[in-house]
Every structure is written in structure tokens, then in C-alpha cells.
């Protein structure tokens, strides 16, 4: 195994905060301890009800091993990310993870259409994160998965978990049924701001019901993959232009697995258009890029690989070195290795910020 050799090296050189780790249930049965008998029976009889053509799979088949690291499948079965021991052995220990931010995709987020069921799933997934993960490994932090399309329950769930430091953020998907900055979602932002928790925006693979490209549904995964980037740009535009940050000045947004290098160009573009169109949005008091620089943090994975490697430094300069946070996306196929991910020389201070300090400050990790 390479892992022990590398582990030694990593722990000597750098501890990291990983801002994107995906735990998953071996099957829905893992959630049964946290669901009523009635909901357990609902799962057995009906299952998920989603806004796409097939259930319990994604519509654009992924490339490698169902979108997972091929080496992350637990030997005893179950999907990658479902086996704590493997995650510890393969990722947390050898990669020097000091804190790992859990992003529990699927089951309980935005994708379930049956609202009472979505409520039960949301609470169950949050209990499951605590008992099956965080209580086993104090390095891990849960993210409160909420029913984005049901803000009333989302608020209740945030309030239920607020103050419990084992929960570090509120997780919602930018692939919502309406643009995420619209007022129907404001109660979620208000609750997160009250609780002092950032919002982690992570795109869900199951859509919120809207075609992903702006011009309909893509044909290939290659295209669908890119809509994660454009969809995140749409979320940024919506949050800024709806005036979310005027209303909630302390709200902080972590853009996770959304890309980041689009942010400078989008900010410039928004500023130029706002100059001409600002009478339409009188609630926007400052150039849009200023809100972006202040309120958005960006997780690095999937890392940008510019043609000239030095241009990554330029990107970080434009975005701001305090707002970039390393992430791996373990155990997904496009995992970024902390030792390999940045191909240019960083100063010790820059390295410390990206790999550790920025996330610790944002999530108040200690």
C-alpha cells in the first residue's frame, strides 16, 4: 500500500481541513433508527419521489465507477462513502484531515417531492450524521441538511440544531425549484444568520425540476457536468441581485463543488450590467462584485487547471486569499489530492490559509 508511506509524509507536512466529504447510507435502512415505523414502511412501499425520469439513479450516467473513486468501494459492499473505517483508512488519516466537513447528498435535501416525507428524511439524515459519523470521529462536522423547498421545516431544523457545534453549516442545493435568492428561501437565510451558521451551497445531482442548461436538457454527461458551474453562477447572481446580503449582512455562503474561477469574470460582468440597469434593482446599493467578495467562500474542488499554471495565483488574487478553502470531494471520482492539487509554489501563509485557516475561521472550528 502507498497509503502508510504517504500518511507519514502528509502528517509531517500539513494538516488540512477538507470542506467536502460525502458520507452516504449503505442503504435507506441506515436511516431507520431515526425514522418512525410509518416512514420506514413508506420507504418499503413507495420510496423516493423525485423530479426526474428515473428514481434512485442519476439521469446522466457518470464516467468512472458510477462517479466514484473506483478504489473507494468498500470490500464488504455498499456505496463509496458508506464505510467509516475505509474513509478513515483511505482518506482521513493518510491525508492529514484535521477537520472534515460532511455534505450528505441525497435523501432529505431538495429532491424529495413528498413534503411530509422530506421533513422526516431531513431530520433523520441529520441524526444519522451525528450518531453514525461525528460521534465516531471528532474530526468530522455535520452539515444541517434541510428541506429547501419547505422553508418552514428548514427553519425548525436549523433551530433544533443551532448551538450544537457538531453542526457547522446549513446545506442546501442551488438546483432549487426557484432561484435560490428568491424571497421564499429567505427564512432559511434568516435562521442561518441567527444561528451564526454559513450556508453551504452544494449542487445536488437530482435536479430541482428545471432543465439545467437554460436551453433545455443536455444530452451528455459532459454537458451536464458543466451545468454545475453555470448553475452555481446563477445561484450567485440570484443571491446578490435579490438583495439577500442587504437583508442579511452577516450571512456567509460556502460555494462547494461549484467551481470558483468563474467568480471574477462574473463579478466584472455583473458590475458592468448593474451600472446600466441599476434602477431596476434599487435595493442593490453597491457594485455586485463587492457582495460576492464579502459573502462568498469557495471550496477548491474540482481544482482549476489553467493552461499557464501560474494563472491559478491570479485567480486567487482576484477572488481573495481569505476566501478559498481546500476540499477533496471524497469519495467521488474527481477527488483532489491535497499533495497534488496545486501545481505552483505557494507561500507558507497562502498554503495555511487555503488548506486550513480560512475554513477554520468560516466554520469556527477548534
Amino acid at each position: 500500500m502507498n497509503a502508510p508511506l504517504r500518511a507519514q509524509k502528509a502528517s509531517q507536512t500539513l494538516m488540512i481541513v477538507d470542506c467536502d466529504i460525502h458520507p452516504i447510507q449503505r442503504s435507506a435502512k441506515d436511516l431507520y433508527p431515526y425514522l418512525s415505523k410509518a416512514w420506514q414502511e413508506h420507504i418499503e412501499s413507495f420510496g423516493a419521489h423525485v423530479r426526474q425520469g428515473m428514481t434512485e439513479q442519476i439521469m446522466w450516467p457518470r464516467m468512472m465507477a458510477s462517479g466514484q473513486r473506483a478504489d473507494a468501494y468498500p470490500p464488504q459492499g455498499g456505496p463509496p462513502g458508506s464505510d467509516y473505517d475505509l474513509m478513515k483508512r483511505q482518506h482521513l488519516d493518510p491525508n492529514g484531515v484535521e477537520f472534515g466537513m460532511l455534505v450528505a447528498l441525497s435523501k432529505g435535501g431538495m429532491e424529495e417531492r413528498n413534503q411530509p416525507f422530506a421533513r422526516a428524511l431531513s431530520s433523520a439524515v441529520n441524526d444519522w450524521q451525528l450518531h453514525d459519523w461525528v460521534e465516531r470521529d471528532a474530526r468530522l462536522r455535520a452539515g444541517i441538511v434541510v428541506t429547501g423547498e419547505d422553508p418552514e421545516h428548514a427553519v425548525a431544523e436549523i433551530e433544533k440544531r443551532a448551538g450544537d457545534r457538531r453542526f457547522a453549516q446549513v446545506i442546501i442545493s442551488p438546483r432549487s425549484s426557484e432561484p435560490i435568492g428568491r424571497r421564499r428561501y429567505w427564512p432559511i437565510f434568516a435562521a442561518a444568520e441567527r444561528a451564526g451558521l454559513p450556508i453551504g451551497l452544494h449542487p445536488a445531482a437530482v435536479p430541482g425540476g428545471n432543465p439545467s442548461s437554460g436551453a433545455g436538457w443536455p444530452t451528455y454527461y459532459m454537458q451536464e457536468h458543466h451545468t454545475f458551474t453555470t448553475g452555481s453562477q446563477a445561484a450567485a447572481v440570484s443571491l446578490v441581485m435579490e438583495g439577500v446580503f442587504e437583508q442579511f449582512p452577516k450571512l456567509r455562503i460556502a460555494m462547494i463543488e461549484s467551481g470558483f474561477s468563474w467568480a471574477p469574470a462574473l463579478g466584472w460582468r455583473m458590475d458592468r450590467i448593474w451600472e446600466r440597469m441599476r434602477k431596476e434593482t434599487p435595493h442593490i446599493k453597491r457594485p455586485p462584485s463587492e457582495y460576492m467578495r464579502e459573502h462568498f467562500w469557495f471550496a477548491t474542488q474540482p481544482m482549476e487547471e489553467p493552461e499557464n499554471p501560474q494563472d491559478i495565483i491570479q485567480m486567487f488574487d482576484w477572488i481573495g486569499w481569505d476566501h478559498i478553502m481546500f476540499s477533496t470531494d471524497y469519495p467521488h471520482w474527481d477527488f483532489d489530492d491535497p499533495r497534488q492539487v496545486i501545481k505552483v509554489r505557494l507561500t507558507d501563509e497562502q498554503r495555511e490559509k487555503i488548506f486550513r485557516a480560512n475554513a477554520k475561521a468560516l466554520y469556527q472550528l477548534s
Binding site: 500500500m1 468512472m64 473513486r69 478504489d71 471520482w333 477527488f335 483532489d336 489530492d337 497534488q340 492539487v341
Partner: protein
């Protein structure tokens, strides 16, 4: 340069591979249609355990909507990002000029010659009647 005996030749059948450790370094030994190749178990792109990827062929096309798979067993697809490498050369298919997996010289030698040395046998006894994979590092 030292000769390392790393495996019995017949344990790596055509189309298969084995990961061996030589001097603290992991190396994948591949049998492509009877010829053996040795590649570092480390993807030059992002450091994955490359040799745990899929041994497969090359997807090619004569134009949109036309698919074919050629050269089966001659390519390795990385278990992380799916980058493709030619086993014979270690070259990346997408970036042949700038990206290449480290290769090692590999030979098949009869036990008869090996018992005379010099070599470093890594993990098992060499028998005269067997054939062995030998890597020079």
C-alpha cells in the same frame, strides 16, 4: 541499478496485472498479450493509485454517433479522473507530449539464470523451473 524479482510470470495472465512493491515503491506489472510492462502506481496527473484503474481499450470514433472500441487491453484508465494511459508507453492519450507515467524496465527470466544472481528477490523463493518477472531499478 538492481535487478528485482517481483513475481512469477504465470501469475500475471494476459490482460491482467499485479501491483508489486520494489524498494518501498509500488509498481504495476501488466501482461499485454504476452508482453510485460511495468508502470509506477502513481498517476502523474493527481497522484492516484493508477494501476488500480481499469485495463481496457481505446474508445474511438469516425464521427458523431459512431462508436468503436479498439486495442482492447492496451490502455489503463485512472481510478480517479478517468485519464487514459497507454500501457506500452506510459503516455497519456489526451496529453501524449506532456504527461507520461513512469515506466520501468521489465524482463522475463527463467529461474535457472536467476538463481545464479546477482539479483534481489523481494518476497519469494526462486525455483529453477519457473519463469519470473524481473524489474531493473
Amino acid at each position: 541499478m538492481t535487478r528485482h524479482v517481483v513475481a512469477k510470470a504465470r501469475d500475471i495472465a494476459p490482460g491482467s496485472s499485479q501491483i508489486v512493491e520494489v524498494g518501498g515503491r509500488e509498481i504495476g506489472v501488466f501482461n499485454v498479450a504476452g508482453d510485460y510492462y511495468a508502470l509506477a502506481n502513481r498517476c502523474p496527473h493527481a497522484g492516484a493509485d493508477l494501476c488500480k484503474g481499469f485495463i481496457t481499450g481505446l474508445a474511438l470514433s469516425d464521427g458523431p454517433n459512431k462508436y468503436r472500441l479498439e486495442r482492447k487491453g492496451e490502455f489503463l484508465r485512472c481510478p480517479f479522473h478517468g485519464w487514459e494511459f497507454e500501457i506500452r508507453t506510459g503516455q497519456s492519450w489526451c496529453d501524449p507530449k506532456s504527461m507520461r507515467v513512469r515506466q520501468f524496465k521489465v524482463d522475463v527470466a527463467p529461474g535457472e539464470t536467476l538463481v545464479k544472481g546477482p539479483y534481489v528477490a523481494e518476497s519469494f523463493p526462486v525455483k529453477v523451473e519457473e519463469e519470473y518477472i524481473v524489474i531493473d531499478i
